[in-house]
Each structure stands twice: as C-alpha cells, then as structure tokens.
Amino acid sequence: MVEPSSSSVAVPRGIGPTRAWFVRLPTQVPALALPVATAFLFLAAWQMIAVLGHISPAILPPPTMVLARLTENFSLIMKHTYPTTIETLLAFGISIPLGIALAALLVYSTVAQQALYPNIIFFQLIPKIALAPLFIVWLGIGPSSRITFSVFICFFPILIATAAGLRAVETNMLRLCRSLRMSEWQVLVRIRFPTSPPYIFSGMKISVTLAIIGVVVGEFIASQQGLGYLILFASSRQQTDLALACIAVLCVVGLLLYGLVVVAEKAITALYDFR
C-alpha cells in the first residue's frame, strides 16, 4: 500500500482551524515570563486596591509598605529567621533517616508490617497540628519540643513514599534475585534501596514544607524567638506590614530548602541513572 504523501493532505494556510490568542503562547516567550508577569499583575492590583481604596495598613498594607518594612527591620527579621531555619533543617534532617529506616523495617519484616502499618495509616488521620500544645507540655518551651513536633508531622510522607519505593521492584527482578538465592536482606540493600530514591525524594518534597509548618506552629504556641513568634508579635500590635514581611521571608526559606531537595535529587538521579 502506498502511503499518501504529506503534501496531499496538507491544509492551506488560513483555512485550517484557528485558535484563540490565549490558547497558545508565541514560541519565543520564555517559560518564566508568564508566571512572573502574572505575579506582578497581582501585586499591582493589591497595591491599587490598598492605596486607592484607602484601606487601613493594619488590615491590608500595600506591597511597597511591606517591602519598606522588610528593609527597615531586616536585621531584626534575620535574627528571627536564623532559629526557624536551623530548627526546620534539624527536624527535616532527623525525619529523613527516621522515615527511611521505619519504611525499611516495614518492608523487611512481615511482622513489623502487620503490627505497625494499620496503626501508621490510622495515625495519619489524626489532625496532628492539634497535638502541638501537648508537645510543649511534654518537652517544655525550648527548641526540642518544636523540633520533635516538626519531626512528628513531617516524617510520615517520607515513610509512606519510601515504603512504596522499596516495594516498587518488578516481579521478574525479584524472581531473578530468588534464582540467584539472594537473602531478603541482600534484596533490600542491593535492589530495593537503589530503586527507591525517586520515591524518597517525592516524599521529601512534601516533607520539607511540613517541617517549616511544624516549627512555625511550635513558635506560635510558645517561643521567644523565630519567625512564627515575630508574626504573632507583629499581628498582636497590628503591625500587619511586619507580619507580611516575615511571611515573605518564610516563603524564601521554604523555597531555598525545597531547592536543596531538588539539587540533591538531581545529583542522586544522575548517579543512579533513572530514566
């Protein structure tokens, strides 16, 4: 059979279906331009509403005012950013090995899996934020209670994702291992672990944002330092611009930590060649 040549089926220009201008971007616009432009448009709208609407700065300060407050009180904000960042990093750093080790135990031991897994799922259903005050009761108002609480809410995604990753080995791969008479331990170390990084990293990406939430909630409840404390302090004095400046800095911290995970993921993926 002869294939029809492409020219014989080509539709002349101007006759084919035309698309509305907002469906497709001109190809030369860089990928980042549109989201950045949209964000600026949003900020401009905010500015207009705040200024032209004569809204009290205690309710809605314009973005320029927030920016001014940020530069004015930069050293104060940085002083409080430091403990929040360190505590978040510690909580995240603890939750990674904890989540991975527990997942390995669940996959390695059938008894552990049957004893723990249903309970872990049940635990997931608890609104864990509600337990935050109890951590202050148990561990006091120091950093240890905030870090522990943060670990408590952020290790679950790593545990669940790692367990899924360790189980993601194909049937025939497992058959090959059995035919080579590998032990369960060997399969875990030699096959399951090297297979799981893509899963572990997807868990870590969720977990890193939860780690910040955990620390900030801890600071809301009882703390003399940290961005959570400063936000609470500023809000109580109706310094909404300072509170928003702190939130902007929290966003930057979150973005940097997330970026750290992405960089680590890229490095490990290149090493293990998942494609």
Partner: protein, 264 residues
C-alpha cells in the same frame, strides 16, 4: 544417560476451593543434555508457569521435576534464566550487570571479567560494556540479559518469551544471536514462545501446550541440520513444518473450545 530436565505429571493449581484454577495438569516430558526445546502455545496456556516451576520459582502442586537427576524444590545456581523484560539494574553498567550473579555467588568478579567480555563480543555488543541500560536499546538490553544468564556457565538455560517484547526486526536479530550462542556453548535450553517460526528456527524439539487444564499435547522433532542459518526460514520444508504446527495448535484450541461449550 539420564535427561538434563525431566517433568513427571507436573500439575499446578492456583488458589483454593471454588476459586481454584488449574494452570497445568499432567505435563510429562524430558529434555536431553545439550538439547534446545521450545514450549509453544497461545498466551495463558501455562507455559511460563511450567518454566517457573522448573526454575524453582513456583511451587509444584503435583508431580515431580528433576534437573540434573535431583528433584527441584528451590532455585538453583546452575540454572540461568532470561525473562521477557531485561531486568537490568539501571545504576550498573552492562558489564557490572553481567557480573551481578557472580557477585551474589560470592565468587571473584575479576575471574569472570574475561568471560563477560567474550560474551558481549558473542552477542555483538562489545562497545556496550561500560554503558548504562538507559543508553541501550531494548534489543541490546536483552542481549546483556542473555550474557548475564550465561556468565556463571549454567548447565541449563531457561528462557521465558525473551524476545516477545521486541519489534519484529530486532527479534530476528536476536534469533540469529541465539543460534550462534547455542552453537558456541551447546547448553540445555528450554525456550518459551508463542511464535511458531521462532520455535522452528531455534529448536531441536517443540512441545505444544494447550487444552484445559493445559498440558503437553504434541512433541515434534525439528529435522533441520545444525548449524542453522536464518535463511532456512525461506525453505519449503520450514514452512510446511510451520503450518503443521499451526494445525496442531488449532486442534488443541478446538479441543479446549469444545470442552468449554460442553461445560457451558
């Protein structure tokens, strides 16, 4: 001389009670040392199940399987297996993948590097030694997988539809590579396939599986001389044998359909 592999009334039932499914029943056959035998049949006829039982990877519900004279009750190191998918470790190079069984057998890898390199040459992939699987095509990966199955010099090679995931042209290439490899090593091979032409080209004997529950319905000798070349596929004898096999398969399926209507 005793056969390398022998199956005596082998039976496999999955599940229990009313949900029980009989995948294989009363499969009896033997494979001589150095013989290339194909298990041929339509999808779902239990040929892979039978192969996995011989590999020691599936439990046997009834009957007995012997390999090298002793009964199979667990996987053995002297049996090499090639699966439908290459099952290579993506973080290891082709050479490291080939040497993986050696590593797991706690033997010295350096003793086998020469053999691994020779195997890569035999499958015409010498340049792939230090490449990762992601850099190899599907056919190349399956060739690496073949090398891995042969690295420890197994007495028996079990192949579970090894080329069925490949395109037709690559599949022909793989058949040629496998013919050459078999000439070189003369292993006892049990080869599962649903391609009639592939079975005729490669095998000394073809066992047709069919019926319900499935069993060996025909045992046909392939008369063509060795060493064989791909071109025999164009001869009249080859095509006559292929159509005879097709008739046998149709007959086995007809039997099955008839039984189905009897039950229904």
């Amino acid at each position: 001389m005793q056969p390398e592999i022998s199956c005596e009334r082998v039976r496999k039932i999955y599940g229990k009670g009313s949900a029980a499914f009989e995948a294989v029943n009363a499969a009896t056959f033997a494979v001589e040392k150095g013989e290339f035998v194909s298990l041929l049949g339509p999808s779902g006829c239990g040929k892979s199940t039978l192969l996995m039982m011989i590999a020691g990877l599936e439990t046997i519900t009834g009957g007995r399987i012997f390999a090298g004279g002793s009964p199979i009750d667990e996987p053995r190191a002297e049996i090499g297996i090639v699966f439908q998918d290459p099952t290579l470790l993506p973080w290891k190079t082709a050479l490291q993948n080939i040497l993986f069984p050696i590593e797991m057998m706690h033997r010295s890898r350096t003793d086998y590097i020469e053999r691994a390199t020779e195997l890569l040459h035999l499958v015409r992939l010498p340049e792939a030694a230090n490449k990762r699987p992601s850099q190899l095509s599907g056919g190349m990966k399956q060739r690496v997988s073949l090398c891995r199955a042969l690295i420890a010099d197994p007495a028996i090679l079990l192949m579970d539809e090894p080329f069925s995931a490949l395109d037709a042209i690559t599949r022909d290439d793989m058949n040629i590579v496998l013919l050459e490899l078999w000439e070189r090593f003369r292993k006892t091979v049990l080869f599962v396939t649903h391609s009639i032409r592939e079975a005729v080209l490669l095998s000394d004997r073809i066992l047709i599986m069919g019926g319900r529950p499935s069993t060996i319905v025909a045992d046909i000798r392939v008369p063509f001389a060795r060493p064989r070349h791909f071109a025999i596929g164009d001869t009249a004898e080859f095509n006559t044998l292929c159509s005879a096999l097709r008739d046998e398969i149709t007959k086995a399926r007809g039997l099955r359909m008839q039984r189905d209507t009897d039950h229904g």
